[in-house]
Amino acid sequence: MRALFAFLAGGLFGAGLYVSGMTDTTKVQGWLDVFGAWDPTLAFVLGGAILPMALAWNVTTRRARAALGTEFPGRPAPRIGHNLVVGSVLFGAGWGLAGLCPGPAVASLFWGGTGGLVFLVAMLAGMLAAPPVRNRIDRLATL
C-alpha cells in the first residue's frame, strides 16, 4: 500500500511538473531572468502547489497520523544554520545555470537526452560528496 501510494504521488508530481512547464529549462531560466525576458509562469506553479499543500498541513493539525498509520512529520527546529544558507546558495546557482532541479531532472529523463542523463549523474555524485563538504563547512564555521 505504501509503495502504491508513493508511486501515485510520484506520478502525479511528475505529471504536474510536465504540465506546468517545469521540465523545460527555458521556462525556469526565464523565471530567474529578472533582468531579461522575465517569465512569471513559475509563480503560478508555486502558488498553485502551495494551495492544496496548505490545506493538507491544516488537516494534520486535527489528526495524529497519516492514513497508512505513520505519524505526521514534526516541525524541525526553526534554526537558520549556515548549511541551510550555503546549501541553498549552491543549489540556486546550479538551478539557474542549467534550469533543472531534482524533481524535473528525474521526470524528464525519458526525453532529456544525454544532457539530462549527465545532469542526473552529476547531481547524484554531488549528493554523495555532500557529507564531507558539510563536515568541512562545519569546521570552518566553528573557527
Binding site: L12, D24, F44, A66, G113
Partner: protein, 143 residues
C-alpha cells in the same frame, strides 16, 4: 492579457500540490525530491527504500510514458554545454543535501506550513538562481 502558459503553470502547480498533499496525508511523508533521492544515495533513508523507490518510479515513468504514448513534443531545452551541465548537477546535488531540501521540499512543502527555514532557503536559492542567470547567461554567455 493572460498567457496560456500561466494557466498550464497553475494547473500543473495544483497537481504538484495535490501530489504533495497525497504523500503527506496518506504516507505521512514530506514530498521533497532531493531528500527522497539523497536518502537512497547516501543510504541515510535505506529503511524506507521501497517507498522512496516507488515514488521515484512514478516520477520517472508517468511523465515519461505519457510523452512516449502521446508523441508529445517534449523538450528540456537544456544547454549543450556539457561542462555547465556537470557543474550545475554537482551544485544542485551538494547544495540540496547541505540545505536539506530543494524547490519541492523547502519551496512547496515548507512555505505552505509557514516554515521559516523553508522561506529562508527559498529566498536564497531564488537570489542565487537569478544571479547565476545574470552571470552565466548575460555576462559570460556560457548557457
Amino acid at each position: 492579457m493572460i498567457d496560456p502558459d500561466w494557466i498550464w503553470g497553475l494547473v500543473g502547480g495544483l497537481m504538484i500540490g495535490a501530489a504533495a498533499a497525497l504523500f503527506l496525508l496518506v504516507n505521512g511523508r514530506i514530498m521533497g525530491a532531493s531528500g527522497i533521492i539523497g536518502g537512497l544515495v547516501d543510504r541515510s533513508g535505506w529503511s524506507t527504500a521501497v517507498e522512496r523507490g516507488a515514488f521515484l518510479a512514478g516520477l520517472l515513468l508517468v511523465p515519461g510514458l505519457f510523452v512516449l504514448a502521446t508523441g508529445a513534443a517534449a523538450q528540456t531545452n537544456l544547454t549543450g554545454n556539457l561542462w555547465a551541465v556537470i557543474a550545475a548537477g554537482l551544485l544542485v546535488g551538494i547544495g540540496t543535501r547541505l540545505a536539506n531540501g530543494c524547490t519541492s521540499g523547502h519551496g512547496v512543502c515548507g512555505i505552505s506550513r509557514f516554515s521559516l527555514r523553508g522561506m529562508v532557503a527559498t529566498v536564497f536559492y531564488l537570489l542565487a538562481g537569478g544571479m547565476a542567470v545574470v552571470v552565466f547567461k548575460h555576462w559570460l554567455g556560457v548557457v
